[in-house]
């Protein structure tokens, strides 16, 4: 039973790792590539580390594996966000089929602050009380 769970977790982890590699190679754009790599690789590494925890079934090994998983889950989004932000500042091209770039013009290039868009006043329809 434990062996089956270990094998299944390892196969799932390897599958997602290959998906991450394929996405990084085939996606057309830095940001799409990062979307593929950050999520799929975290899931794949998490499954492989869980396989280690199930395989050894020991308190010390399990706690180390869980600590590594938690650390990966905490740090992978931060690293991906910082890298994507740096790429956007450097001026990495978006793919041609991009529909909308809502960040365009919102970054102050001197202070690296993000401004929010000026909201135009939308005329509100006031509900008419029933006469």
């Amino acid at each position: 039973m434990g062996e089956m769970v270990t094998g299944l977790l390892m196969v799932v982890g390897a599958f997602f790792m290959v998906v991450a590699g394929l996405g990084v190679l085939r996606m057309p754009d830095l940001f799409l590539r990062m979307s593929a790599s950050a999520k799929a690789s975290t899931l794949g590494a998490g499954a492989l580390l869980l396989a280690v925890a199930v395989h050894f079934g020991d308190v010390g090994v399990t706690s180390r594996a869980v600590a590594t998983i938690v650390f990966l889950l905490l740090t992978a989004p931060i690293a991906a966000h910082m890298l994507g932000r740096a790429g956007y500042f450097v001026g990495v091209k978006l793919v041609e089929t991009t529909v909308i770039d809502e960040l365009a013009g919102q970054y102050d290039l001197r202070s690296h602050r993000l401004r929010s868009k000026e909201l135009t006043a939308v005329p509100q329809e006031t509900p008419q009380p029933d006469a």
Binding site: M17, G44, T75
Partner: protein
């Protein structure tokens, strides 16, 4: 087929394939953030390789290497991103 054989002959070759795909992106990568992202993915794949190798050889001591690799790769990626942003 034991779990050790599955790790050695099934999972490690798949991880090697993923590493090859990532290295192609690392060599090609049109911009610097592409290459940094490929390096980050390479270290995560390395963590997976260490975990699978620990299963294949029944040596749980390899997990400590995985923890240290995770720490160092996060610091490296954050430092790269910080200095790439500073170039503008």
């Amino acid at each position: 087929m034991s779990v050790n054989d599955l790790a050695l002959y099934g999972v490690l070759p798949a991880l090697a394939l993923a590493i090859v795909l990532t290295v192609i992106r690392l060599l090609r990568g049109p911009s610097l953030p592409d290459r940094v992202m490929a390096l980050d993915l390479l270290t995560t794949l390395g963590i997976g390789v260490i975990a699978v190798y620990a299963i294949a050889t029944d040596q749980p001591a390899f997990l400590d290497v995985a923890i240290a690799t995770a720490l160092i790769s996060f610091l490296g990626t954050v430092a790269f991103a910080y200095y790439i942003e500073r170039t503008v």
